[in-house]
């Protein structure tokens, strides 16, 4: 059986993941972008009490399988150690019960495991895999860079929604590209276009940090485009959690030790997933004098639910506005919008009050 690859859909990273496999000479059918239909299909097959990302990724494979994909790549500990470790096993079982004849590859995010699995399936040489990985990292870097640029530009743009038009165009163009030289050229073109966006100088922009579970934080469809919504309301969003952050942690394990040292007064051990990171990030945002923090989590996500009371405590101590949003298939967008709109008002009140206090001290 000639392997035709698909993989879990994950926001804009799907673009980079697609080229990674293509570069190794494999045939790829990318997963369907998450939408209401794929969520529905995934939820229908999944165990009811399992976390939301399992359902959405499962739903995203199915259209690709219908188009002829027969091999699924799923990473085993992308979210640290929590239920995510069993995603692969459960998805494989569920799909096989549905009668799909598939080869399910469940690998760990250690360089050794990734290499050996890729080698086995593609038969590519070390050099080819190395080149593919290098290109993947370049593409990933570009995607994350323009996402970050957009976070900065959105609240400042003079013409509304101009940034997002360029961002959408850029992501489509990156998707089409397959070699290094053209990627470099495109990178220059994208950055030039972004730098030409007219921005309002000296604007008092509010800053909000986005923390929480890595999949929900990074996938704009799952989190109802929270970054865009806040950006359009004049808020600069900061988010430390992304794929590079996670890969770095997988390669340099001492990062966890550094995080642990910083959060010792609040939590003395790991709680799985990216629980510790959430506390570390929130403390960091408090230190940087941000105007608010939003925690995103799939409903009943164990690590995030465990650290939520700690985050609440930091919020009570510092006075910085904090909002925790649980996301699941049932959540209607109106509910999220109401909370976000109210949160934006609270953040604005907090910001104005702090400015008033500063002025009083100056007098």
């Amino acid at each position: 059986m000639k392997p035709i690859i698909t993989f879990p859909s994950w926001g804009n990273y799907s673009i980079a993941l697609k080229t990674l496999f293509e570069k190794m000479g494999l045939e790829v059918i990318p997963p369907e972008k998450i939408n209401s239909q794929t969520i529905l299909e995934g939820a229908k097959l999944s165990p009811e009490m399992f976390c939301f990302p399992l359902k959405t990724t499962l739903g995203s494979y199915i259209p690709a399988l219908r188009k002829g994909a027969n091999t699924i790549f799923m990473v085993q500990n992308a979210g640290g150690s929590c239920r995510q470790r069993y995603y692969g096993r459960i998805q494989e079982k569920v799909l096989k019960e549905q009668g799909w004849e598939i080869n399910f590859i469940d690998f760990k995010t250690t360089p050794k495991d990734i290499y050996s699995e890729f080698k086995k399936i593609s038969g590519a040489s070390f050099w080819q895999i190395f080149q593919a990985a290098r290109f993947f990292l370049k593409e990933l870097h570009l995607i994350e860079r323009i996402e970050k640029d957009a976070q900065f530009l959105r609240p400042r743009e003079v013409e509304k929604r101009e940034t997002d038009k360029i961002l959408d165009w850029a992501l489509l163009e990156i998707d089409k590209i397959g070699d290094g030289k053209r990627l470099l050229k495109l990178k220059k073109e994208i950055l030039k276009k972004l730098s030409k966006i007219k921005i309002a100088q000296k604007k008092d922009v509010l800053k909000v940090g986005l923390i929480g579970e890595i999949y929900t934080v990074c996938d704009p469809t799952i989190n109802f485009e929270i970054e865009k919504k806040l950006g359009w309301e004049g808020i600069e969003v900061h988010r430390e959690m992304d794929l590079t952050y996670h890969l770095k942690k997988a390669i340099f394990p001492w990062k966890d030790w550094l995080i642990q040292r910083k959060i010792n007064p609040y939590l003395k051990s790991t709680v799985g997933g990216h629980g510790r990171d959430a506390i570390y990030e929130m403390l960091n945002y408090v230190k940087k004098d941000f105007d608010g923090v939003i925690q995103l989590l799939p409903a009943m996500c164990m690590p995030e639910v465990t650290v939520r009371p700690i985050l609440e405590k930091i919020h009570q101590e510092s006075g910085m506005p904090f909002l925790s949003l649980s996301l699941d298939e049932q959540v209607a967008e109106t509910g999220i919008n109401t909370r976000l709109e109210a949160f934006v008002d609270v953040v604005k009140n907090y910001h104005n009050q702090r400015i008033a206090n500063k002025l009083r001290i100056c007098e």
Partner: protein, 321 residues
Amino acid sequence: MKTYLGIDVGSISYKFVLIDEKNQVLFWLYKRTEGNPILAIQNGFKELRKFIENHNAEIEIAGIATTGSGRYLAGVIAGADLIKNEITAHAKAISNFVPGAQTVIEIGGQDSKIIILENGVAVDFAMNLICSAGCGAFLDAQSFRLRIPVEKFGELAIKSKEPTTIGSRCSVFAESDMIHKQQIGHKIEDIVAGLCEGLARNYLGGVGRGKKINPPIVFLGGVSENLGMRKAFEKALEQKIIVPSYNTVMGALGAAILIKEMAPLKTKFRGFEISKKDIKCASFQCRGCPNQCEVIEAKIDGKIVARWGDRCAKWSNLNPV
């Protein structure tokens, strides 16, 4: 005379409040939506028109604001100058009507919230997330099952001397608990009072968890009409609970105050004729990209007046201004 209108369209009821420039309430209305918010808003305007014709024909509406979960729909139909979330609206109204209040408990039909105020502005809030146990809709369902009008529920509850314990973690469990207590022969008022206490516990353990609940505490929303719930909160918090006048329409009142302070030069109000027009709302799935957003389209007399719900603004950009 310049007046300002606030409309709050919730899950179960809709509210209209008309205020003058001194924040005096001239007219208010609280009615059930009965599953048809469009017709409800039209009826609301009919009643408002009747009031204006009978009382003071000089009333001129200088601004409209909508709030509540149906705020976009209401805003499109009425031609609102401001569409605001209900948390900010409630906070605004309370800072005007109960100065100094620090905590607002609001329980409506489908959602419950807590708002923490400092110096009259909202500094923190929480809303129930996925579960809406303990909201008005559940009390409604129980009153129907027990054949007691929901308005009498509270009176019955305060008659009880020994409320029974009813588990309140989930409304399905609460209901089976109630049935069990009925079957072992508990008095109906004890069960109803137990239910109220359970719901107050559920609220404080869920929505209110981790929040600084400082007095003065204000209780709002449809459920605040229920005397049993007021008593249950007083018992659970060991604090006096303030239920101000206009407690059920506070969201609409807040919206009206917000638009009054904004003072638009010219209102976008579509006029009272709106109650006679044919308003239709439909949705379609956009196939433009894999997002497949559900776009909502509102038509008045066959003419498209607004579209919303798309993520890329492809459809909402076409809205006539």
